[in-house]
């Protein structure tokens, strides 16, 4: 250290130079490393309230001896830290994100504006209905729109995500059967291509999973299904189009067969994007549908959400819905729009509450805005473009990748790197990592489990044909590279990202889940 100046350690603590990729690939220190005793960013209202000491306020036995050490940083360092972290993060706003089953479409900024309206965000969830008529009307209108989209009779908006919706749906199934002949029904049928949340939810719902295999077309094997159907079956969970992006053409006979044995049909609506305005789960014979508003209805994924997983049901299941539900109270005239009043109502045979409050309300408001902006005709166009994009890509990728079920798909397609792996050792994972270098997020890999070295690509409707072309080109280049002289690039990829391939095995072996757990 030069001069006669006392130094301040700069490496482990405090003012690091930018480590954003803008400036290279240095890592960013944690907040804990940036912490300096005595620094602070907070600033609170001046209240004028008497300044009793902790000892005067908290019985001695309950008072903590030491403050919780969080971190001590200036506002300036806080901002630099999280801004730099944001530069180390891929996102839809940065580029295409063809992550299959996740529907990473563009999220309109309009909905951010909606989500920031103080008249929505400032409402306390325990406020009586009379103080929040705008919120109640919004929720009711959204529920009605979702019922129209799915062809169902009523819905709950409480579930906070798809999996929560699934479990809610299974509790509805249970309540329905228990009100009838439930005791014998202990099994729920799931196709082998199902999303992992489906079997997990079935288990949590207290049912046994019966897996039914797909046939050569990639669809439910109706004969195999029929073989497992009996009166121990509570229901079946399907997604249609299924996780291969294929429409279950036999859905009508499947529905008939399941209903025949007294089972219910559950629709995993994560893939609703493909059939908006084209077909409806209700019309296909489904009894229960959950939707992932964070997928189909463009609410942003937030690095892992918040989402919203409303569940819609047919008339006969409506009395079992979670509650309290927001409802119109048409008789009472009053303070709503057009003289309507809104209130809360507990369904007569409700399974009970499934959320701390009313669901992820602000996410619901975003979805409502998205539906209003699109309208019925716009939603149909979403499906058209989503399906068109996925089919175009399938056609385009023929020749460079195996396409296990090479027939018209819906909103997504599954290709396989099995051939590539055999010939060059380059696996689906390597393709995914190499694609990151090309500036795209990777597709979903190794799902569905029914396809070897699966790459599940969901372009979504908001990517242009030019972007698809660029994506297809990049995938082609990767395949060609692997089959050519040098599989190295893919195996060593990614090298241009903020970090190169991370050691996942070590993370699990030497678990460091917090800063304090470092060895």
């Amino acid at each position: 250290m030069g001069g006669d100046t006392k130094g301040f350690a700069a490496d482990a603590a405090g003012g690091r130079a930018s480590s954003a990729p803008l400036m290279g690939r240095e890592s960013e220190p944690t907040l804990f490393e940036l912490s300096q005793p005595g620094r602070r960013a907070w600033s609170l209202r001046t209240t004028g309230v008497p300044e009793w000491t902790p000892e005067e306020l908290v019985p001695r036995a309950h008072l903590r001896a030491e403050p919780v050490e969080v971190a001590e940083v200036s506002e300036r360092d806080l901002v630099a830290h999280f801004t730099r972290l944001s530069h180390r993060q891929y996102a839809v706003d940065v580029g295409a994100y063809p992550l299959g089953s996740c529907t990473m479409k563009y999220n309109p900024k309009l909905c951010d504006a909606v989500a920031g309206l103080p008249g929505l965000t400032g409402a306390h969830p325990a406020a009586p209905a009379s103080l929040v008529p705008g919120w109640l009307e919004l929720l009711v209108a959204l529920e009605e729109a979702l019922c129209e989209v799915t062809g169902m009779a009523a819905a709950t908006l409480q579930p906070a995500a798809g999996a929560a919706g699934e479990l809610t749906g299974l509790m509805l199934m249970r309540a329905w059967h228990e009100a009838g002949d439930g005791s014998r029904r202990r099994r729920v049928i799931i196709p082998d291509s199902a999303h992992g949340t489906n079997p997990a939810s079935v288990a949590l719902g207290g049912y046994e999973v019966t897996t039914v295999a797909s046939d050569a077309r990639g669809c439910v094997d109706v004969t195999a299904l029929e073989a497992v159907l009996d009166e121990t079956v509570a229901g079946i969970m399907l997604t249609n189009p299924n996780t291969l992006g294929l429409f279950e053409e036999d859905i009508a006979s499947i529905a008939a067969a399941v209903h025949e044995v007294g089972g219910l049909l559950y629709y995993d609506g994560a893939n609703l994007n493909a059939i908006l305005g084209v077909a409806r789960p209700g019309d296909m014979g489904f009894d229960i549908v959950h939707m992932n508003l964070h997928k189909t209805f463009a609410t942003p994924h937030g690095g892992g959400e918040p989402g919203a997983g409303p569940v819609a049901v047919s008339e006969r299941l409506a009395p079992f819905l979670p509650g309290p539900r927001p409802v119109r109270q048409p008789g009472r005239g009053g303070d709503g729009d057009g003289g309507e009043r809104f209130g809360w109502e507990m369904p007569t045979r409700s399974i009970g509450r499934v959320h701390s409050w009313h669901g992820n309300a602000v996410v619901l408001a975003r979805a409502y805005a998205y539906i209003l902006a699109n309208g019925g005709d716009g939603l149909r166009r979403v499906a058209d473009a989503a399906v068109l994009n996925a089919n175009w890509l399938r056609q385009r990728l023929r020749g460079s990748y195996d396409i296990p079920y090479d027939r018209p798909n819906m909103h997504e397609l599954v290709v396989s790197a099995a051939n590539l792996k055999r010939r060059s050792g380059v696996k689906a994972l390597d393709v995914a990592k190499r694609l990151l270098e090309e500036g795209f997020h990777s597709p979903t890999v190794y799902f569905p489990l029914t396809v070897e070295e699966a790459l599940m690509i969901e372009p979504t409707e908001t990517e242009s044909p030019q972007t698809l072309e660029a994506l297809a080109h990049a995938l082609e280049v990767i395949a060609a590279e692997a089959l050519g002289d040098d599989p190295g690039p893919a195996k060593e990829a990614p090298r241009t990202t903020p970090v190169s391939r991370v050691d996942e095995a070590r993370a699990a072996r030497q678990l460091v889940p917090t800063w304090d757990a470092r060895p």
């Binding site: 969080v70 103080p118 989209v149 079997p199 892992g304 997020h441």
Partner: protein
């Protein structure tokens, strides 16, 4: 020109035609050949045509204008798990960065270090607050965290029976009960006596003991007692804590909690009419392989650089499917990132200060209300930042009356506390944002309202 159909679809008609042609198709409908004709929706969705963006915003603004909300219309004294805390511009601005908002679950760690590191920092802070070794990367809300804690505890003890204090938020208990049906769980609610859980002597069959700290009435439970009850039953102790109060109170971990859950809304998330909120979940290291939800771990990349990745993924449903520890897939990451930012903003001293100011405000407000003739404390147990009172007028009526004076007076007590004797009471919360002037005005209005 009119609004185009499907504003967010970039394709021009010419491009659609070209793409169809490449597929050998001539109409978009042909894309849906696999959908049996009988299942096709004739006439399209019965929804109005799309609106322009400003028209949508105007409609939502109009709805929003009709709500009476905290800040704009009402001074908020309501809490019950949903608090009016300071959310500074810096938190909003950082948490609103598009990279955080429009990313998904960090499946590809190499391009998700931003979210991963923020979650790692979040986990560290939550574990410290809770006083246990591990925290996950968030669950949906306080209720879902409680459900998962009960799942973890009963699967750890191997006994499905649950004792849950009525000091746990009534809604959270309802959600536990809703989902208990699935696993055939037997949920026994233990009522409060004068504000504290009246734990019976422990029976052997109990598989999980759940207490709250402070509890729903704002009272400081005797967690040593709860720990003994759990020990006697040989069951894990789950504590639903208030992470803001934790700035002053001993951590649940220090009282011996095995699992700590809570609602993290207070850290940077606005009231949001109840959601999205943030489920906090932490537990001792011993239970890490039963931890629900995502977990981020520190590791290195091929060049040895510190990196972060989701780990112990074998717990998750995409690997273990029906044998997963939970079905939670997407969670509330953005709120967790928000909380990490807000906790960074508060820091060690700010967290303490917020807790202290809440407690001071609550003491001041409680004194002012109890000075009103006819207003009485509902219970006598010690409280921190929230307190229950009984007035000559029912809680629900008070709330309606005081709303007209510009106050959200609190949350009426009753449902879910039947055996705890709270009917007609009012739960009042005071945050660090309430000034003396506001409290004085509230007390004055309250005095009129109880007449």
């Amino acid at each position: 020109m009119r609004e185009p159909v499907g504003h967010y679809v970039p394709h021009t008609d010419a491009e659609i035609d070209a793409m169809l042609a490449a597929l050998g198709l001539s109409t978009v409908d042909e894309l849906f050949a696999a959908v049996p004709q009988a299942l096709r929706l004739a006439g399209g969705l019965d929804l109005p045509p799309g609106l322009s963006e400003p028209d949508v915003l105007a409609r939502l603004e109009e709805l929003a204008a009709r709500n009476q909300v905290s800040g704009r219309d009402l001074v908020c004294f309501a809490g019950a798990g949903a608090y009016d805390h300071e959310v500074p511009a810096v938190t909003r601005s950082l948490a609103g960065r598009a990279e955080f908002v429009t990313a998904y679950t960090p499946y590809q760690a190499e391009v998700a270090q931003g979210v991963l590191q923020a979650l790692f920092e979040f986990q560290t802070m939550v574990a410290r607050l809770a006083g246990v070794g591990v925290a996950n990367a968030s669950l949906y809300d306080g209720a879902s965290a409680t459900v998962e804690a009960v799942n973890l505890a009963t699967s750890s003890s191997g006994r499905p029976s649950v004792w849950i204090s009525q000091g746990v938020h009534p809604h959270w208990r309802q959600v536990v009960t809703t989902f208990a049906a699935g696993e055939g769980r037997d949920v026994v609610e233990i009522p409060l006596e004068d504000g504290l859980t009246a734990w019976p002597d422990a029976r052997n069959g109990v598989g999980a003991v759940v207490a709250a700290y402070p509890n729903y009435l704002g009272c400081l439970e005797d967690l040593a007692r709860a720990r003994r009850v759990a020990d006697d039953a040989g069951a894990p102790l789950v504590v639903a804590f208030d992470p803001v109060a934790a700035g002053l109170l001993r951590s649940p971990g220090s009282w011996g909690a095995d699992v700590v859950v809570g609602e993290g809304q207070a850290f940077g998330t606005t009231l949001n009419f109840g959601g999205p909120y943030l489920g906090l979940f932490a537990c001792t290291e011993e239970h890490v392989r039963r931890l629900p939800g995502r977990l981020v771990g520190q590791t290195v990349d091929t060049e040895g650089r510190t990196s972060y990745v989701t780990t112990l993924r074998t717990r998750e449903q995409d690997i273990r499917r029906e044998r997963a520890s939970s079905n939670v897939c997407t969670n509330q990451t953005l709120m967790a990132v928000t909380a990490a930012i807000q906790l960074g903003w508060l820091g060690t001293s700010g967290l303490n200060e917020v807790a202290l100011r809440c407690a001071r405000g609550a003491r001041y407000c409680r004194q002012a209300l109890l000075a009103i003739e006819g207003v009485e404390p509902l219970v006598s147990a010690p409280v921190l930042r929230e307190f229950a009172i009984r007035a000559p007028v029912e809680g629900e009526v008070l709330v309606e009356r005081l709303a007209e004076e510009g106050f959200l007076a609190g949350v009426p007590l009753g449902p879910g506390l039947e055996a705890s004797g709270c009917d007609g009471g009012l739960l009042v919360a005071v945050t660090e944002r309430r000034t003396r002037d506001e409290i004085d005005a509230f007390a004055a209005a309250f005095e009129k309202a109880v007449r």
